[in-house]
Amino acid sequence: MIYSFEISLLILLLMTAAGAIMVKDLISSVFILGFYSFLLTIVWAWLGAVDVAFVEAVVGAGLATVFFLMTLFGTHPKDTRIRRSAAPLVAFLGLPVLGLLLLYAAEDLPKFSDPQSPANVHVSTEYLKNSLRETDTPNVVTAVLMDYRAFDTLIETAVIFTAGIACALLLRRNQE
């Protein structure tokens, strides 16, 4: 285990996440968010989820940044400084307690890459064993996404289509 690598990555993730919230200039915030996505890409790739890492890099660090920037430039670029009130006392006291509770609950999570964990004994073994024979597709992730779970992907595609239509309806209302 390369604990130093993990811990420095985790600290960087927390720092960029906090920075994206706390920075006053929204354009800087957008770029910090892009860097956060880039770090998350490294985390996914390091966990072995290369497909997720790919999509995170392309969507999170690429496309979302462009959308945020275009929104900021389209609204009032002068008005990028916002004022926040101080956090209430409840947050200062409650959030650490919540964090401790989550850490306590994390004790019961199955160990990463444990072959006997519930996620690894249910259907994923079937996918790994049979997907190449059944679908002629070496990439198991694609086989699951597009064949075994094709209905989910269909609805996801419909959701993305709806997002595009909603943007067009809201923002192109005054055209033509």
Binding site: T71, F151, A163, A168
Partner: protein, 149 residues
């Protein structure tokens, strides 16, 4: 609010990079069955290459005019996806059960499923690419200024 970029470096680099991005996007799309990638990533990259063209070359250049034509095809990707499912119904099976995708030149269920995965991935990629471009065109109209094509 989209204006052509006036830096020669940016314009030259974009002119060189856009075909490369598109080529890589197609590679990711069609190689998704054998390695990381697939419809989602490939579609976003296809859309992003055109978005780069829109942002760099401005509203009067070919990329933006192409994008304005492309966004009329919103929904074609979803229709490809649903159409593949419908073909499976016609073939005598359940919706999206690619084993019933009857094609005269394919004789095994596994190859039929492989073809179904490829076609639906193309559908997803088309849908996402068009949606990304459509959202960017919508966002460019926030100030109410039409990027005249």
């Amino acid at each position: 609010m989209i204006h052509a970029h006036d830096s020669t470096i940016v314009r030259t680099m974009s002119r060189m990079l856009i075909p490369l991005i598109q080529l890589f996007a197609l590679y990711v799309l069609f190689f998704g069955q054998f390695g990381p990638g697939g419809g989602f990533a490939g579609g976003v990259m296809l859309g992003t290459s055109l978005i780069l063209g829109i942002l760099v070359f401005g509203p009067d250049a070919p990329p933006c005019r192409l994008a304005k034509k492309v966004i009329h095809g919103d929904g074609i990707g979803l229709m490809i996806f649903v159409g593949v499912g419908g073909l499976c119904l016609i073939g005598g099976g359940e919706f999206l059960n690619y084993a019933n995708l009857e094609m005269p030149w394919i004789d095994s269920d596994a190859r039929r499923r492989s073809l179904g995965i490829l076609l639906t991935q193309i559908g997803v990629a088309v849908d996402i690419a068009v949606t990304a471009i459509s959202i960017v065109i919508s966002l460019s109209l926030i100030n109410g200024e039409e990027p005249h094509a």
